[in-house]
Structure formats: C-alpha cells, structure tokens
C-alpha cells in the first residue's frame, strides 16, 4: 500500500514537474505567435482608429453642411459628370502653394429619412476605409502623403453624403450617395479648394460586409468610390494645368543648366 502510494506520489510529482515546462513552452509559443502576428499586420493609422460619428443631412437642405460654404462652388467642365468645384485664387495661398497631403477619416451623412442609429459600425468602417484609401491612391503620386499636418501640406476632408440603411440585412445603400470634399491648409484650416459631386455613381450598390474587398456584391460600391476618387484627381490635374499668362511665364523662366 505504501509502495503504491509512493508510485502515485512520484507520478504526481513528475506531472507537476512536466506541466510548468509544457505551460512555459506554450506560453512562449503563444507570445511568439502574437508578436509575429502584430509584427506582420499593417500598423493601424490614427485616421482609421478615430472614426467621426455618423451625421444626418438636415431636412430640406440642398447640401449636407459638411462644407462651411457652398456659395463659391461652380460647375467644372474639365471634370466628367456634374462636379461643382472651387479653387482659391489667392496669389500666395492656392493649390500650387502646397504639395503634400494628409487624408482625414471620411465622414458619413445618412439620408434625411434614414435612422443614423441603425448604421452598423463595421459596415460604416468598411465604407469609409475603402474610400479613404481610394482617395489616397488617386492623389498620392501628385500630392505625397505625410503623416502629420505641417507647412506646405494640405488636409483632405471628405464626406459620403446620403447613405441609406435600407439594404438587405442592414447593408448600407449608396444608391443615392454623393461626395463632398475640401482641401484646407493643414495648419490654419483655410480653404484652398473644394468639390461636390452629386452624381449617383453607386446606383444599385450596397456595402454589406466588413471587408469590402471580399464582398462580391460590393463591386459596384468599390467602382463608385474609385470613380469619385479619380474625379477628384482629374479636378486637381485641371487646377494645376498651365494656362495663358502662366504658361508664358513658365516657358520663359525655364532654363536648364
């Protein structure tokens, strides 16, 4: 009896000895895997982390109120569609005075008759993150992206306006959506350029998945956001185009070494 007891005790002791080793190894392996996962994952930008709250278009209003001033916007024949644009004519503070850019998180305005509380947070993030990256892709070779506001740097603010919550399984319907965008001095907030595109490019498009790229049904939405982003780039290109007197000055002053 005593012998058996001793054996049991011994067995127990061995298990006690082995268990911490096993635990330590598993613990180490888990930490290693977490560290690798964190190391390999894309760093989350501050823009993605801090998403602005969902707002609603005021009843009876022509615009969302995202831009402070809509009075100076005019149709721009240089851009496809019916984009309304504004460019500062100030000699010292115009689009050509800046070359770097910071893209702000995208804001969402739901349609007047929609309930902003029903907007699924993950779907909103999928929509805004996709549009933010589409904008960054469209402008970054002409306006290099920087992390922080600073001198010679523009801040791109943009809003998706008119989102409806009437899709299947609570998907976000962007069939009647437009976009409003503004480029401001990143240090002073002074407006340098603005654009409003109310063309319903997203007719029939819905954002129903957390990850836009995996949802085939969202292909139309992706196309719409890409198109709005490329129209913004077309607007910036047209604003930079040399015309008239500027063309003559540029030609006259350029002397290669």
């Amino acid at each position: 009896m005593q012998f058996i007891d001793m054996n049991l005790r011994r067995k127990h002791t061995v298990n006690e000895y082995r268990r911490p080793w096993k635990n330590r190894f598993e613990c180490f392996a888990s930490i290693l895997m977490i560290a690798m996962a964190v190391g390999c994952s894309k760093p989350q930008t501050t823009e993605e982390a801090a998403a602005p709250p969902v707002k609603k278009i005021p009843a009876g209003a022509q615009f969302s109120g995202f831009l402070k001033d809509y009075s100076a916007l005019k149709p721009n024949p240089a851009v496809e569609g019916e984009m309304l644009t504004y460019v500062s004519a100030d000699a010292k503070k115009n689009l050509r005075s800046y070359f770097a850019i910071v893209v702000d998180p995208i804001e969402v305005y739901v349609a007047t008759d929609a309930d902003e509380k029903q907007v699924n947070d993950d779907r909103r993030k999928a929509l805004t993150n996709y549009f933010q990256h589409a904008l960054a892709n469209a402008v970054s070779d002409a306006f290099p992206m920087v992390e922080k506001p600073g001198p010679l740097t523009l801040r791109l603010r943009a809003a998706v306006v008119g989102v409806d919550v009437g899709g299947q399984n609570g998907a976000l319907n962007i069939g009647k959506v437009g976009v409003e965008m503004e480029l401001v001095d990143s240090e002073t907030g002074e407006r340098i350029a603005a654009a409003v595109d109310r063309a319903s490019l997203g007719a029939g498009a819905e954002v129903g998945a957390v990850n836009l790229s995996r949802d085939e049904k969202a292909a139309a939405a992706r196309e719409a956001f890409d198109e709005w982003a490329s129209r913004l780039r077309a607007f910036l290109d047209s604003a930079h185009e040399l015309k008239g007197e500027d063309m003559e000055k540029a030609d006259k002053s350029y002397k290669p070494y």
Partner: protein
C-alpha cells in the same frame, strides 16, 4: 502540442521562403565593374556637361559647400549614391573603375572596390568615352530638338518652386537630372521626353526628395524669407528661383537679374533656422534691354 509544433514549423518555413525570395531578388542586382566619375551630388544632378575642368571645379566646390559624394557611370550617365563614401572621397573630381552592386532603379550602389584611373586610360572604343568627349554634347541654342525638350519640360503641370528638372543631350540621348518632391514629376518628365521625335534613349537621374518635417519647415521658411525681398521672382504659379531642400541643405537654382539679388538670396537662406548649408547656384542674367523704337 505536436499540432502546435507543426504549425510553428510551417510558419517558419513560410517566413524562410519569403526571406529566400527577397535574397534572390537582391542577387538579381549583380556585381558589376565600370568606369565612373566621382562627383558631388549637386553637379551630378545638374549635369553641367562633359567632364571638363569646369565640371571638376564644380564637383569640388559643391562638396566643400556640403553636397554629398556620388558616382556617375560613364557608360550611360546614371548617378549612384554610394554606401562607402570614404572609399571614393579622395578621388573626387577624378575617374576610376568601380566594382559593386549597382541598383539602377533606386540609384544606389554597394561599393566593393575603387581603382583610380587617368582619363587617358579609358580605351578609345569604350562606351565610357561618351561622357568624356565634348563633341558628343549638343549645343543648347542651336538645336531644334533641344528647344522641343525644353518646352515640354517647362509645361509640366506639377512643377513648383521646390522642384528643378534639367537635362543634357549626348547625341540623341537625353539625360534628365534634378530634384523633385513628387513622384509624378519624375515619371511625367521621362514620358514627355521619351515621346519626342528624334530622342533615342532617356536616362532618368531625377531624384525624389525626402519630405521630412525638418525639410518641409526649411522649404516654407526659405520661400517666405526670399519672397520678402525678392518677391518679383515669385508669382502665383511658379518662380524664377528654385529652392531645393535635401536633408537640411538648401540649393538655390534658377536665374536672377543681378549679383546683388543672388547675394541677398544667400543671406536670406542662411537666416533660415534648421538649415545646415546654402549652396547658391543661381545664374545672373540681366534682362534684355527694351527696344524703344
């Protein structure tokens, strides 16, 4: 437990294979040996023409003023920044045979050795002779092709006060040089020149400048300082004076009307906080006299 080990092993294999793939890519940039001119960054980017005494003086002067050392491959005029500056530093303004890993796309070279040579040592049939023979360089004013290229580059939409793009013609080949803050300018310049009829090859030595916080501050401050007294050289969409800022150094390029204006520009830029050096390469060209009749 075993499953965990198998999983970890598979993960390690994946990581290992991706590292191996990277290594393979790296090995694609093979070790090569070629004739190179040891230059200063500023003169190499401006390509002041063939390697004459004037060019050598420029290299030495700009280096003293704070410009980095680079090497120029004589075969095709590609500029490389080098990892071992000490190896070539004492041969500034001279040529030699360099061996190392040259990355043409990024303009970087990992140097292994440098053997100094005399200009006369370069064989007559070597492609390296191209840059050494003054006759290969086209005169600026007499050639229609030169003017076409100049006009195309002048019309680039995204050029600002902080970009400067220049070019040199060697036969029907064009070497683009200079600095820009935008990727799009580097590509746009290349494609604009490439599609001009009569241009054979285009070497793109345009460098994309870093956009660090300090350099951005220096750019804004330098423009503000220059506009105070030399505002007539700046207009809403451009300027006659170009301000190139790279790693805290300011390079002034372009044309001013008087020597006094050039000196004022140096003084003003020297007053910019955080700037290390000011390299003034402004050209003085008095405006043409107006005809009264």
């Amino acid at each position: 437990m075993r499953k965990l080990l198998v999983f970890m092993g598979a993960l390690a294999l994946c990581c290992g294979s991706s590292v191996a793939a990277e290594d393979k890519n790296k090995k694609d940039d093979k070790i090569s040996t070629f004739y190179a001119y040891v230059d200063s960054d500023v003169c190499a980017r401006l390509m002041l023409g063939p390697i004459t005494q004037g060019r050598i003086d420029c290299s030495k002067k700009a280096y003293k003023q704070g410009s980095n050392i680079v090497i120029v491959r004589l075969d095709d005029n590609v500029v490389f920044s080098v990892n071992k500056v000490k190896l070539v530093k004492e041969y500034l303004g001279g040529i030699g045979k360099v061996t190392g890993e040259a990355k043409t796309k990024s303009g970087e070279m990992k140097l292994e050795s440098f053997m100094p040579e005399q200009l006369s040592d370069v064989p007559a049939d070597s492609p390296a002779q191209k840059l050494l023979d003054v006759r290969n360089f086209k005169a600026k004013s007499t050639d229609g092709l030169f003017e076409k290229i100049r006009h195309e580059l002048a019309m680039m939409a995204y050029i600002t006060t902080f970009d400067f793009i220049s070019f040199t013609m060697v036969g029907d080949d064009v070497i683009l040089t200079g600095w820009t803050v935008r990727d799009t300018n580097r590509d746009d310049a290349f494609h604009r020149v490439k599609r001009i009829e009569g241009v054979k090859n285009v070497v793109n030595n345009i460098e994309i400048l870093p956009l660090g916080n300090q350099d951005m501050q220096i750019r804004a401050s330098a423009r503000g300082a220059l506009e105070q007294q030399l505002g007539r050289y700046f207009w809403s969409n451009g300027s006659d004076i170009k301000i190139i800022v790279k790693n805290g150094n300011i390079i002034l390029l372009g044309v001013v009307a008087t020597k006094e204006d050039s000196d004022i520009a140096t003084i003003k830029c020297n007053s910019v906080s955080m700037a290390f050096n000011v390299i003034n390469l402004l050209r003085v060209e008095p405006p043409p006299a107006k005809n009264k009749g």
